[in-house]
Symmetry: D2
Subunit: 97 residues, 4 copies
């Protein structure tokens, strides 16, 4: 993840004094709620219909998922690239070619 | 997002021929399920207890959220950094200093 | 579950011709979204704060969860009391006294 | 909701001393996680495929959703039938014939 982007997100919450609320449990809860708002754009629609109708909303909600994911990684002291590479490796062992 | 990482994830699913299943609706559904598995690590625990007890599991599930998020962005032709910067700007207007 | 209540819900959707959309997958998806809207009433709040602040909203969202649950049970031909009694019995074996 | 069923569920948790953990926020969180486990039975499958393949699992997870819903209603002192009737009436105003 681009360090400039992580810094942008950190600065945003520091300016608003929100870090005090951002314990990992509440961040994971909010990430899950944003993932549901993302999914809501597909409710009662086929995938193709939703993509046409709700492209902008899907971009916004997916961005929120990433923003909470970055904040949770910060709180946990995870390097996002490291955990992704680790998980892809684990998935490769679980689903071998 | 590091292009090498996106390529790693793309290669993983091409080798397994999974792209055929990865329409945006089913990807958004799976992302939401992974966000719930992430949250499950905090169930019936305080945030501090969960962080100590389930650090490794939290890393793995958060990585899965990112992996599905990256795949959904790919299918939608979103640039992840662009949509994050757009959303931070929108949040700044919604919650001014 | 009171048969009058099930009939009320069935009548509601028949009058609106919604049964055609109500396949089990989309009902399960909507039930999950309503469960997230219920949970959203507790976001960034302690349990006690949320109960005072959002009592009415919690009632409405919990009702939506039940309404989708009843509709999904109808589509699957489940008797709600039967499956609850079955699951309590299974939970009793999993967590013996 | 059948009072015998509510009593069965209350007795189950009293015998295990679980009521102490069951504040509304954690119950809403667990209800949301169970709704995701329910939805997981439809992941990467069409609705028809899922119904055939996972009928028993769908029954079990839907039952868990009802069980947590009943416990949350108990903690909130909601009468389940009352809140469902209220919500159906509100939905009728939102989506008139």
């Amino acid at each position: 993840m681009n360090p400039d982007l992580i810094q942008l997100i950190n600065k945003f919450r520091e300016e608003r004094n929100w870090k005090q609320y951002h314990n990992p449990k509440d961040l994971a809860l909010s990430l899950s709620l944003e993932a549901s708002e993302l999914l809501e754009n597909f409710q009662w629609l086929s995938s193709d219909e939703a993509v046409v109708k709700n492209r902008q909303e899907i971009a916004e909600e997916l961005a929120d998922v990433f923003i909470y994911g970055i904040q949770l990684a910060e709180e946990m002291n995870f390097d996002i690239e490291d955990i992704i590479r680790m998980k892809v490796r684990m998935n490769g062992e679980k689903y071998p070619l």
